[in-house]
Symmetry: C2
Subunit: 418 residues, 2 copies
């Protein structure tokens, strides 16, 4: 076990800064030795933060290759925009660095195949930092499924129901020089561009890549009306924003069928007015259900018309990791899930094991974007989901058995080596 992990940190924008501020900078076993961003102001801000927190002053660079080639670095975080992230990750893996990438989807399917090949050739782990895999609700559902209390899983839903118009698309966050890069995607592409917040936990529940796999995917995009209407109302009818064509449909519905006959429904919902944020997480089984919209966990035989019983269910069925975490005082940042996913990665680096979200998971989740784009273009025709494991999914076992494992429910603190 390594005692301290030396981190190279690429991407110091809003998200990258937040992850350090609320998580990594507070971890005694993590030292950020080098930071990288194209924006000097973002670099300065991050350096100031680390000094303020009493951490060593990091080296700064605008060239990510300097991070990758730095022999003092054990692991690299890529908290950059969507494009180019898998390529940088592969370079880091080839340089022998444990690699973490922020959530997102691939620009092209080839990236996903390349990522898997890079992993298989180098043996160096790569992990998508899908924080929602460590969500309390999602982990409780995972526990109930693994302990057999829910029976056979039949159908799951998830979504990214988040109105991004004001905060993320049209207005650059305060303190950043660039307009949000996501808007470029919305102008040019039409697909499920943000699937992993729910597909991640659902994949774990369904044992994707470990006894099950995604077989087919179909996506359907509604018309694109929200951004243009919003821009005309907010910026004026003659504004450039109102006179731009947006390719992205407002609501993209994606249906995935799995080898075990279960189905997954995903929705992207980011450019229309919404009353509240939701990931629309639900899991349906032969013995029960969990539903974010109803805030309910239900077991067959309970009286009907139940909603809002999650608080008492957490008392009984909290995932042991959350129970421990809550007892120690919850860290901020998306309800603690950022902390947990960062710890899961760091613990893997320290122990020298594979990561709980591994290269096959990362590739499969990254692939949803380009696959959904294909299907949308084909009018919703289902497309084949590649088997990135090349048949190994049939017999793969969980590779990490520590408490951050998402495949089995592990109570004790030991992390076994593969």
């Amino acid at each position: 076990m390594k005692e301290k992990i030396r981190v190279g940190y690429v991407g110091c924008g809003r998200r990258g800064y937040g992850i350090v501020k609320h998580n990594l900078a507070d971890m005694d076993d993590v030292e950020i030795v080098m930071i990288c961003d194209l924006c000097e102001a973002s670099l300065e801000r991050m350096r100031a933060l680390l000094e303020e927190k009493g951490r060593p002053t990091p080296k700064m660079t605008t060239d990510y290759r300097e991070v990758i080639s730095n022999p003092d670095i054990d692991a690299v975080f890529f908290m950059t925009g969507w494009s180019g992230r898998p390529q940088m990750a592969m370079e880091a893996m080839r340089a022998g660095k444990y690699t973490a990438i922020e959530v997102g989807c691939a620009d092209d399917l080839q990236e996903c195949f390349d990522l898997v090949r890079t992993y298989e050739e180098t043996g160096v782990p790569v992990m998508m930092l899908e924080n929602c895999c460590y969500g309390r609700r999602e982990m409780m559902a995972l526990r109930l499924v693994r302990e057999g209390l829910f029976g056979d899983v039949v159908h799951c839903t998830g979504g990214y129901h988040h109105d991004l118009r004001e905060e993320d698309l049209f207005r650059a966050p305060k303190g950043e020089e660039y307009p949000h890069y996501r808007l470029g995607y919305y102008k040019t592409r039409n697909y499920e561009n943000y699937p992993t917040h729910e597909l991640g936990p659902i994949s774990k529940i369904l044992r994707i890549n470990r006894g099950n796999r995604m077989v087919k995917l179909a996506s359907f995009a509604s018309k694109s009306a929200g951004l243009k209407e919003y821009a005309a109302r907010v910026f004026g009818k003659d504004s450039p924003e109102a006179n731009t064509e947006y390719a992205q449909g407002d609501i993209v519905t994606t249906l995935i069928t799995c080898a075990d006959g279960s189905t997954v429904l995903l929705n992207l919902d980011t450019t229309l007015p919404r009353a509240y944020y939701s990931r629309n997480f639900s899991v349906r089984e032969t013995l029960g259900m969990s539903s974010e919209e109803g805030h309910v966990v239900f077991f067959d035989g309970m009286p009907h018309k139940i909603r809002d019983n999650e608080a008492e269910m957490y008392e009984k069925y909290d995932h042991p990791l959350h129970a421990e975490y809550v007892s120690k005082g919850v860290k901020i940042g998306h309800g603690g899930i950022d902390w947990l996913v960062c710890r899961a990665f760091i613990e893997s680096v320290k122990a020298g094991t594979n990561t709980p979200i591994d290269a096959y998971d990362t590739a499969a989740w990254l692939a949803v974007g380009p696959l959904s784009e294909q299907s949308v273009k084909a009018g919703g025709a289902p497309v084949d989901f590649p088997d990135f494991t090349n048949g190994k999914w049939m017999n793969r076992e969980p590779v990490v058995r520590g408490k951050y494992c998402l495949d089995e429910i592990v109570v004790d603190d030991s992390i076994s080596v593969e």
Copy 2:
């Protein structure tokens, strides 16, 4: 205007009985002159009910053709099981009777074409009694859309989220001789078998057949696990119920794309444990949203994180029909929607107009079943949605302008003749 409508009533089972008991038997302008069922006990029960309510004793028959050929009858209700209903309806239309049919879907696409041809040849109206079109939530959304307060409609969801295992599939309702016929469908077919409760109101909101139409449909079925597991648990592993194969997938997801670029998501969800009944009604627009799951109506610009504000929204935006109805005291039976849909039909018969849900609507909604079966069989490949109007949808105007109209919002009581 006719003062009294003489009704022939075919189908006196649980649903047929309930509609008479709580609705038709209390309408002074309706006289049920003949009742029909294959089950003598059901006929007797209905006769007793009508006498108990102080209504004239109806003639009784086990042959629906006697109802259709009875010259004293103005209108026929078919409250029978799913199969054969469209055929009986067409016979009634050819005999010149206004025809009402209970909700359901066609066994075959041909029935839908035949129904439209029968309407076009005879000019006799036929109406699916889709009570949910008159739901308070759905009518409020219709009003908000028509008045422009919601902007452009982009996406709608609906579903039949109703655990039918105990009440409807495995146990015949009390007092009925036959086991529930629906179980036969679940054994042999795999499709969206009950789409209209939400597709009905959504169609009206989207102006389907009146300026818009459904263009493509794709359906995806999960594995079938719920019924078999339930039967083994409740009836025993050696029971016939547990040793039957059920063809019906537990969750069927259907995606419909419309000519105007909007999308509709439907879910059939009837054979797994559920915490609560829901039709998952939601309408998403450029200026707002309505959501059953959140019990919320939201307009862009309101503070976020709003749920459960429907009560105050009904104060402001209740559909005038519901406002009038509530002020007169709500009738029982699914919150009054049975009463309203029956009144809508009866008022049309009295006025000699077309019905608010007409032959084209009825045919399109009936068609979802067989279309979804085709798509499920083809692994979710989208299928073309027939244009039952044969191009007339582009320019069709609302044909009924009375207060029960579902195309426009009509406040006054006048019902104009086409």
